[in-house]
Structures are given as structure tokens and as C-alpha cells.
């Protein structure tokens, strides 16, 4: 049964914010299936990327080392969007998937779960999927989150 299918578009100004997405889980689910994806992953415009990096060097690198940092900026390229997913069940945290993959097929069940998520009872009630927009470097970044509840007798 489909619990959620949400699409959105994030912009750089939304960097460093969370998007909180509550959804309801009915009793009887044996497995929760999550597909999370976003695109683009990479800022292809090299000039734009270098501009962003220069700005960040102003903030993070000592003045006497900025010139050298700019000369070696390639080590920080390409710049990437990063959105991560974390999950809460009605009783609390069920983990996070902090990694750079822009397409993630995840699951949670009583016995097992995808790396980063915690296996355990699929309690009925309000769950929360949290998208953490660590950094959006492209003009827009489209994301989609789909969550399905699967019962044993139903084919996944």
C-alpha cells in the first residue's frame, strides 16, 4: 500500500533546512519500502562552482592561504547537492542514511533494515520522514520520496 509519494524542488536558499514529512502507517505492515531520489547531483557549471568555492574560502580559510586554496580548488570539485533522509517511528528515531547516493532504495522491517536504518517493530501511527538539505548548489534540485507498506502475503 502506498503511504506517500511526494515530489518537490529545492533551491540553494533552502540549504541547511529540514523538510519534515509526517505519514500514517496502519497496523499489519511487515515491511516498509522507501525510495528516495534527487537530481541533479552535480553542479556542472565550473565557473559557478569556482565562485561558490571562492566564497566559502573567504569564510573558512585563513587569508594567507586563500590564494593557494583557489589554485588547488579542483580538489573540491565537482560540487554536489546533498540531501539525506532520516526516519522516526511513533516512539522515536529509526536512523539516517547519511551518504551521497542520489537514488536510495531502502527498507525497514522487524528483522532487518537498510544500513543506517534500524530494524524493529513497524508500529502503527504517525511516522516522520525528514529530508535534511545539507547543501543545494544547483539552481534547483528535484526530489521525490515514495514510501510503501508491504504485508507478507502481498508481493513486494
Amino acid at each position: 500500500m502506498e503511504l506517500l509519494d511526494i515530489q518537490g524542488s529545492a533551491v540553494p536558499e533552502q540549504s541547511r533546512t529540514h523538510i519534515r514529512i509526517p505519514f500514517e502507517l496502519q497496523a499489519g505492515a511487515d515491511r516498509m519500502q522507501i525510495r528516495f531520489e534527487y537530481a541533479p547531483k552535480i553542479l556542472e557549471d565550473r565557473e559557478a562552482a569556482l565562485d561558490l568555492l571562492k566564497e566559502s574560502y573567504e569564510r573558512y580559510i585563513l587569508p594567507e592561504q586563500r590564494e593557494q586554496a583557489i589554485a588547488r580548488a579542483d580538489r573540491h570539485l565537482p560540487l554536489k547537492n546533498l540531501i539525506t533522509l532520516s526516519l522516526d517511528d511513533p516512539n522515536g528515531y529509526r536512523g539516517a542514511c547519511h551518504r551521497h547516493d542520489p537514488v536510495q532504495e531502502l527498507f525497514v522491517s522487524r528483522e532487518a533494515a537498510s544500513p543506517g536504518l534500524m530494524s524493529g517493530k513497524l508500529e502503527a501511527g504517525t511516522w516522520i520522514a525528514m529530508l535534511s538539505l545539507h547543501c543545494i548548489v544547483t539552481e534547483t534540485c528535484d526530489y521525490r520520496l515514495r514510501i510503501r507498506a508491504v504485508a507478507e502475503e502481498e508481493p513486494a
Binding site: 566559502s56 569564510r59 585563513l62 560540487l79 528515531y93 542514511c97 547519511h98 543506517g116 534500524m118 535534511s132
Partner: protein, 374 residues
Amino acid sequence: MSWIACELHTHTLHSDGRQTLRELAEGAVKLGFGAIALTDHNTMSGLAGKEEIEREFGLTIIPGMEWTTFYGHMVTIGLSEFADWRQGGRSGIDRGIAEVHRLGGIAGLAHPFRIGSPACTGCFWEYEVGDWNAVDYIEVWSGTFPSIRTDNRRAFELWTAKLNAGYRIAAVSGRDWHEQEDTDEPISVTYLEIGEEESAVGGHSDKLPSEERLIRALGQGRACVTIGPLLTMTLEAGGEIWPIGSAVPADLPGTGGTAPEAGEAVRVKLSLDFSVRAELWSLPGQVFKLKLCSNRGEEASLDLPAAENIGRAGYSGEDLRRLEREAELPGSHTAAPRIWLRAELWGTVRGAYTRIAFTNAIYFDSEKEGGGSR
């Protein structure tokens, strides 16, 4: 007392690491570690099966999690359960640290000067810490061959500045270890000191240092960091021996506190143990420098000549496992009281003159405030 070799910052494929806990444990044991902290980004799911892996490899695995937030990364270890990293903005970290403490853990700034977003999201510490007394430790050395890196130098200076301001904060290294890769760069180790009677848990044949005691050792600053020999020190004052992490009371004679008269000299015993992690490190022969540093600057420097490589076969070709030196520092006076003291080992490594090892601080209570944070 015994010193346990620890790696305090690691990841597995439960976040963005490219290794399982088993592969990590195997690699850690090969490198001579007795304990690691698993600090995956924003999850503790990687700890499943930890007891079995601890038994199999004879390695203590401390539960932890790296808060991977928008305004900084914070390593938290020793928690009984999850503390929520998603709360609060730039000024909200104090509440987060309090929550970590409530759950029995301790918290440290991870790589506070590593470049931040967009190159490394949230990696630069931008939180406004309201109460530095609440910060348990700072990861002053991050990565391999950490001492020569500029961002680590800034972290080390931050630590020193906080000590100068009277805070009692521990300093550690953390490799931020994401995968089993071969490196010929020097690897840094944080040694934590636990009592002999504490060094074993349970009545089992496998005697591992307990995670609680390692956490307590770090919380109390009983830590030494090195890419080579284990450098430790004790201080003699008032007829007593004061170890690293302790605070010497103000009313003892000769402690360098705020006694109105110039106090008696302070005697410091320095010890270098070359037998640690045998065969896993070596340093070229040279005249090393052993330094004593405090809020008053560099207070003493002793030459330590070594004609040949040290490490692997002991000190300078001799079958010498341990070297001891004593130093005497003048007592201090009211104008410039000594408030902390640490030892450092300096030398040339791969062409760079750099810190090789340092101890955490011994503190000196002042009469006014009766000393520090904890």
C-alpha cells in the same frame, strides 16, 4: 595504570564509510588499537553485532555517533541511546551537548576547522558555544599525518586558547576513518589511561577495557596523543604525584598557583615509551625536543638525541623500551599564575619540523575560583 591505544573517529557503510564493522575492527587490530569508537554519521545502526566482533578481535568498540549537522560535526561517544542531532540552529548546540550528557555520553568538536559547505557540508564548526565548560573534548588532530595540516594547527590553537581561558577540555586525534586503504602516512593514536583494576571487564577469559572506563578517562582528560612513542608525564607537588588530567590544589607548596611568594620549583617527570605498537611506527634519528608548555608559553625544552631510528627496535638502536627525564620549573607568582601544563615531543618527520606527540593538561586550581569546570 595502563594506556589503551584508541581510534576515536570511524565510519562504516551504515553512513558513508566503505567498510563493515568487522572490516574496521580487523584493520584496527592490525594497527595495534585496543579500542575504537564507532561514530557513524547520524546513526547508531552500525553497532548491531558489536559484542561478537569485540570478542572475535579482542577490541573494545565504544558506541558513538557523529552529529553531522549544518553548522558543525560533533563526535559523541558513550551514549546509551540516541540524542537528536536535528534540533536547533547555530546557537542551539548547548542543549544538544546537555542531552548527550544526560544520556551518559561525552561530546567533542570534530575537525572544527575543516573547510565547510559546499566542499564538505557542515564540516567547519560554526556553532556558537554558550558554555565551553560543557565541551568535553576537541579533535585537534584529524586524518593521517595530522600534525602538519593547517586546519589541525588551528584546532590545536583553539584548544590552547580555551585552556588559557581556564576551561578544562581534553584533546584527541581522530582519523575520520572511512575505508580500509593502505597509507604510508604516520597514523595518530589517542592513548586513554585506565587503572589496572579497571582494565578488564567481567570474569571472562577475554579481558577488554570497558567502554565506560575509557569514556571516563577521556572525560577527565587522561589522554595522550602521538604518531610515535607514548609521551606521558606526572607532576610532583606537596609530596604527591599528580597525573595528566588532574587538578593540583592551590594551597599546595610549589605548584605554580597563586601563592603570594614565588613558590618552590615544580618537578615534572616525563616518560617516553617506545615499545607501544611495536613495529608499527618509526622515526628517523635526530635530536628530538621535549617541551613543557603552559599558559605562560614554552617553559622548558630538553634535547633528546637519537643517533638512529627510533621505533621498531626501541630507542636509537638500543634495546631501550622507556626513557625518563625530569624537568624543574620555577614556581610562579601572582602576576602570572600557571593554570595548565602539558608536554610535547617535537622533531622532523618527512621533512617537516612538527609535533610528534603531546599530553593532555595537568591543571592548577586558583585560590579565587577553586578551579575548573568539572
